[in-house]
């Protein structure tokens, strides 16, 4: 596709429900990042994939958060037993290389509201 695509754009979940957020990066992009953005704040790093390998998951807030990119393209961020503090915008970004020198291309985000 032309850009990074995320779905759903909006998700409302009841506390305790599981949610899955999808990211379609730009075709051929090697690196894929997930960020969490709370209201009025900057994005906070969650996890990083280089192709299908998850090289860094140090930003995942708890073991309820799980991310995968099994074929090195589409990625899914799963949150189990959602809590109110999980309410945020989840941003996916990709870049064409595995180097740390370039810009990131962001999707529009998935806004999660946990009631």
């Amino acid at each position: 596709g032309a850009g990074v695509s995320q779905s759903p754009r909006y998700k409302v979940a009841k506390r305790g429900q599981d949610v899955a957020l999808r990211c379609d990066p730009i075709s051929g992009h090697v690196s894929l990042f997930w960020y969490q953005q709370a209201l009025g704040q900057g994005p906070e790093f969650l996890t990083y994939f280089q192709n299908e390998a998850q090289l860094d998951k140090s930003g995942l807030p708890s073991d309820r958060f799980f991310a995968e990119r099994p074929e090195g393209s589409v990625s899914t961020l799963k949150i189990q037993r959602t809590q109110q503090e999980d309410s945020a915008v989840y941003l996916c970004a990709s870049s064409p290389t595995g180097q740390h020198t370039g810009e990131l291309f962001f999707g529009e985000g998935s806004r999660l509201t946990v009631l």
Partner: protein
């Protein structure tokens, strides 16, 4: 935790005026980038400045970097209503691959 801090948190200017915002960071960097985010949208890359560069221009944008002070500034000249957005600085640390963002500056351009 946020690596960078933007200043001011919010800025309101008249169309045609210049907007200046600053970013300070804590650790040595490989490069520093500025991003714009319109309300409810994703982030859009504006400009990247490497640690060995001091100034860079792109259209109406001017970015400076002072690594001795661990600070950067973004100047938007002749602002337009369409420049209304939040602006974030983001840094990549040495031997790192992830961008660390500040909390952002919200800019409102009044027509």
């Amino acid at each position: 935790s946020q690596q960078g801090e933007e200043d001011p948190q919010a800025l309101s200017i008249q169309e045609g005026e210049n907007a200046t915002m600053n970013c300070s960071y804590k650790t040595s960097i490989n490069n520093l980038q500025w991003y714009r985010q319109n309300s409810g949208r994703g982030l859009v890359h504006l400009i990247l400045i490497r640690s060995n560069e001091r100034e860079k221009h792109s259209g109406r944008l001017r970015v400076t970097l002072d690594t001795s002070k661990k600070s950067s500034s973004l100047l938007i000249t002749a602002s337009r209503a369409a420049d209304t957005a939040s602006y974030f600085c983001a840094t990549t640390g040495l031997n790192d691959y992830k961008l660390s963002f500040g909390a952002g500056t919200t800019v409102t351009v009044r027509a």
